[in-house]
């Protein structure tokens, strides 16, 4: 069952890759004037492949649920994969409202990145600690993830808007920040390449070091340690000696991974720039040539409108009900709770700015990007760095 589950996830992953290519093809076909009106054959195939992938992933989810005996949303791998699945689900839903293949070209790669990112974390089926043994696990977590995924559609739409609307003929703050967004996405690829590359090469370096309590401890690095631990001593032979040593308070292993990802991301980014001979956003512009900005803006807004109530229900209300049952209080200012509140406040501000201050179009697109950044921050940094009660995330 576990093996079947894993295979279904692979199927889904590949289907999303293929579907992205087909969605891209559908835009190309349009541009070449083969067929101008509405849905073309490419887009139809693309959405069918997307749905096949989605069904496969639902299959992964169900089989893993059966194998584990609990909803597979209990560790970072499971939750993030589920988030990716919700993103695809939300895309399919929005696609049938607006019939827009270009949304697929931008949403599916984000989902692919998220699922690939998830796979970098331990994939074992883990037993539930007592605090997680509740039906509220799947009620709260799935609703929260679904809400975030719908909100994330507005990020994809926001990128499309900016790729089209930002003037690429001159360099400006707007082009800079849009490139920063592109670079962040490329860095995720960097993280995936570094982690999976060294894992395939079975790289392992063991360090003795002194932790912040002043006690001797051991670190196992799975990628070469550029950043070494406090008073670290390399034990494994023939491994890379750290260039920089960190104070004990900093988790050198995580910092090392972050720096590797950013540097490899930067290298990838500049290779892309050199190959493309222009900004990444500029080279994406032909893809969005025939897009109606007004429609993109509306999709972005609509997904926030649809996602906000779902997010509130899952990440705040269901969360509070469960917290009252498991932790004796519905709210305890745990970092994850606070960041859910921050996300909620942010989208509340987004909606008010839009409704009353007339922040449409480009401003709204930038806000959608910041919103997604907050969601990702809550998923990655709060789980891995700030931790707290929700830190079932693992290494």
């Amino acid at each position: 069952m576990v093996e079947l589950s894993g295979n279904l996830l692979y199927v889904a992953f590949i289907a999303y890759l293929v579907a992205t290519a087909f969605f891209g093809g559908s835009i190309k076909a349009k541009k070449d004037g083969q067929k101008v009106e509405g849905k073309n054959k490419w887009a139809k195939l693309a959405i069918i492949i997307t749905i096949i992938g989605f069904v496969a992933q639902v299959g992964y989810f169900i089989t893993r649920w059966i194998a584990a005996g609990h909803a597979p949303v209990s560790n970072l791998f499971e939750f993030t994969t589920f988030f990716g699945m919700c993103l695809v689900g939300a895309f399919i839903f929005i696609y049938y409202i607006y019939k827009t293949p270009w949304l697929g070209v931008f949403t599916l790669p984000v989902a692919i990145l998220i699922i690939a990112y998830a796979s970098m974390f331990p994939r074992d089926i883990s037993p539930l600690i007592p605090a997680l043994q509740s039906d509220w696990l799947h009620i709260h977590v799935t609703t929260a993830a679904l809400g975030q995924a719908i909100l994330a559609i507005s990020f994809a739409a926001g990128i499309i808007y900016l790729v089209k609307a930002v003037d690429q003929s001159v360099s400006s703050k707007r082009t800079f920040w849009l490139e920063m967004v592109m670079y962040s996405l490329v860095s995720v690829v960097g993280f995936i390449l570094v982690t999976s590359g060294f894992s395939m090469a079975n790289y392992e370096a063991t360090f003795n070091y002194i932790d912040k309590e002043g006690v001797e401890a051991v670190y196992e690095y799975q990628i070469p340690a550029v950043i070494g631990p406090n008073e670290g001593e390399l034990i494994t032979d023939g491994r890379f000696e750290p260039l920089i040593e960190t104070p004990a308070i900093i988790n050198s292993k995580k910092l090392n991974t972050v720096i590797w990802s950013l540097v490899v991301g930067l290298a990838l980014y500049w290779i892309l720039r050199l190959v493309l001979r222009k900004r990444i956003a500029a080279s994406l512009q032909p893809l969005v040539k025939n897009i109606n900005l007004d429609l993109v803006d509306e999709i972005s807004y609509r997904s926030v409108l649809i996602g906000f109530p779902v997010f509130t229900l899952g990440a705040l209300i269901f969360a509070m009900i469960w917290a009252q049952i498991a932790w004796t209080r519905f709210w305890g200012w745990d970092p994850k709770e606070v960041w859910a509140l921050i996300t909620w406040l942010f989208y509340a501000a987004f909606l008010h700015l839009r409704l009353s201050k007339g922040w449409h179009g480009e401003r709204s697109a930038w806000l959608a990007i910041i919103g997604f950044f907050i969601i990702m921050f809550n998923l990655i940094v709060v789980n891995l760095v700030i931790a707290g009660l929700h830190s079932y995330a693992g290494s």
Partner: protein, 548 residues
């Protein structure tokens, strides 16, 4: 003060668009190509009066800009509180300031000094929340009442100036036959529009209730915030801790001595690779021991009659229960949660009275560490008296024996041993792995024999009568937010002017939806689909930018 429109309707002072016919009443609005339809051009107090101090306060809080600023400041402040753990999540064993300084250096010290370790209960954070509450109330009142008036007073026949300044607007020839009009109305009805007809003019409207969504959700939020304040009303909220050893029966706090709880057994169970299935094998290998259950098996008792001081209360068993994480025990609005535990707490210690030289034993005593007796009589004239007992022994600042707490973590005794040949008794101080004979060399000693331990369950006793309030607030919020987000208020005006038909459309959001709906509704009616006047503008601008 009131403004009478040419259509005869009397509007309150400050009205921009006539509530009834929509005629533009404010001079400066007349130059605009498109009308600002946000609150139907109704007379909002904040836009009309600005003289007294009350006006100024009202206008300040009724501004969405101020509201958004309050949200953003609260958001940023909330981020600050997650940089380092809040004081409730740090070990409580040393003073908070030391913890922050030890763990995070000067930054931790600064964080503490600025009060960020207790940020969410700081006066200024609570003030921010309160200001958001005030803003919610005033913003809503400023808008909802005039909006209600305007929507309630609207008539079918709208002013030309109103129609042509709508975002969706178009002109068609008058339909040639009545059939087309019938089709139109049938189409609209099938899309669940409510139709009003007057003099051949039509107003089709649906989902007006969606306009109340924001105000409903604001009411929900206000109820929620009030619910949060109720926490501080005495009697609404109880937060007590109850440590219960196995075999022990104690009064449950906050029940007025009505209920008693007995801990029969406390269990910590770990996952077992063999019993719990192979699927977890890898994870268990990686993580080591993973806890499966924390469970206290308890019996709940109710007191019978009145207690007389000094007498044991008469208890009647109510039921047996198991308290686990996620499965609290509920009694009369009170919930008991399994939150903490202590395994193998010392419970009883056994000693024998021994002749130091010969090792001959004269009987064994068993001391209940939570309730030691004063004197233990052994046979044949031997006895042991407990002169002093230190359950949690330490030497205090003056170097004298003392106890840190009443929990037997490190018990120590001063015994007086009496034997037939030592009738005045010998004194001996006995602690774990330590014996002192303060009054010279003794003949007898208390030899340690055995220890019995027990598990202790740490329960939280919680009552929170504000939950109902918060639940209702949350429910109303969800209803309001769904109402506003999932439905759109749409209107289509059709007015006959001369031999032409003027058509205008409005929705509070989701314009594409309305446009597509109008295309469907107008099919087979001979009416032209109205144009999006704003999009023409936007497209012109984008093109202009690209070429410019």
């Amino acid at each position: 003060m009131n403004v009478k429109c040419e259509c005869g309707h009397v509007n309150p002072h400050g009205t921009v668009l006539c509530e009834s016919c929509g005629k533009v009443l404010e001079e400066k609005e007349k130059d605009k190509k498109l009308l600002d339809m946000r609150y139907e051009g109704s007379a909002r107090r904040s836009q009309t009066y600005n003289k007294t101090i009350i006006d100024k306060i009202w206008n300040f809080f009724s501004s969405v800009k101020v509201g958004v600023w309050l949200i953003v400041i609260t958001l940023l402040a909330s981020i600050l509180g997650t940089i380092l753990p809040q004081s409730m999540y740090i070990p409580q064993t040393i003073p908070a300031v030391e913890h922050y300084e030890n763990e995070y250096g000067w930054f931790g010290r600064l964080y503490y000094e600025l009060g960020f370790h207790n940020l969410y209960s700081s006066w200024w954070y609570l003030l921010l929340i309160a200001l958001i509450g005030v803003s919610l109330v005033i913003c809503s009142l400023d808008r909802v009442i005039p909006l209600y008036r305007a929507l309630n007073n609207q008539r079918v026949e709208r002013h030309e100036g109103f129609l042509k300044r709508q975002r969706l607007y178009g002109i068609s020839d008058v339909p040639q036959n009545q059939e087309m009009v019938t089709t139109l109305i049938a189409n609209m009805k099938s899309k669940r529009y409510k139709i009003r007809e007057e003099n051949g003019n039509i107003l089709a409207e649906k989902n007006r209730f969606a306009r109340w969504g924001p105000y409903v959700n604001h009411i929900g939020l206000i109820i929620f915030l009030i619910g949060g304040m109720l926490r501080f009303v005495p009697g609404m909220y109880v937060d007590e801790t109850l440590w219960l050893r196995e075999g022990e029966t104690k009064t449950i706090p906050a029940t007025d001595g009505q209920y008693y709880l007995k801990n029969n057994q406390f269990i910590v169970e770990l996952y077992d690779k063999e019993k719990d299935g192979e699927v977890f094998e890898q994870a268990l290998d990686r993580a080591g021991g993973v806890v499966k259950t924390y469970q206290a098996d308890v019996t709940l008792y109710k007191r019978q009659g009145e207690t007389v001081a000094g007498e044991q209360p008469e208890l009647e068993k109510v039921r047996d229960a198991e308290i686990r994480v996620n499965e609290p025990l509920k009694i009369d609005g009170l919930a008991l949660y399994q939150v903490d535990y202590k395994l193998n707490e010392l419970h009883k210690m056994a000693f024998t009275l021994q002749n130091k030289e010969t090792g001959e034993e004269f009987g064994e005593i068993l001391i209940d560490l939570n309730n030691p007796e004063k004197q233990y009589d052994l046979e044949n004239g031997y006895s042991v008296q407990v002169k002093s007992y230190f359950p949690d022994f330490e030497f205090n600042e003056d170097g004298e024996p003392a106890t840190k707490s009443r929990v037997p973590n490190n018990p120590a005794f001063v015994f007086e041993m009496t034997a037939p040949d030592k009738p005045e008794g010998e004194v001996s101080f006995v602690a774990i792995q330590e014996t002192i004979e303060p009054l010279g060399d003794n003949k007898y000693k208390m030899a340690f024999k055995a220890v019995e331990t027990k598990n202790v369950s740490g329960l939280t006793v919680r009552k929170d009568s504000t939950l109902w309030f918060l639940g209702i607030g949350g429910l109303i919020f969800m209803i309001g937010v769904a109402q506003g987000a999932y439905w759109n208020h749409r209107r289509i005006w059709i007015r006959r002017i001369g031999d032409k038909v003027w058509v205008a459309g409005h929705t509070n959001k989701n314009w594409h939806g309305l446009k597509r709906e109008i295309e469907v509704v107008f099919e087979g009616t001979g009416l032209n689909v109205p144009k999006d006047q704003q999009q023409d503008e936007v497209e012109g601008k984008v093109k202009g930018e690209n070429h410019g």
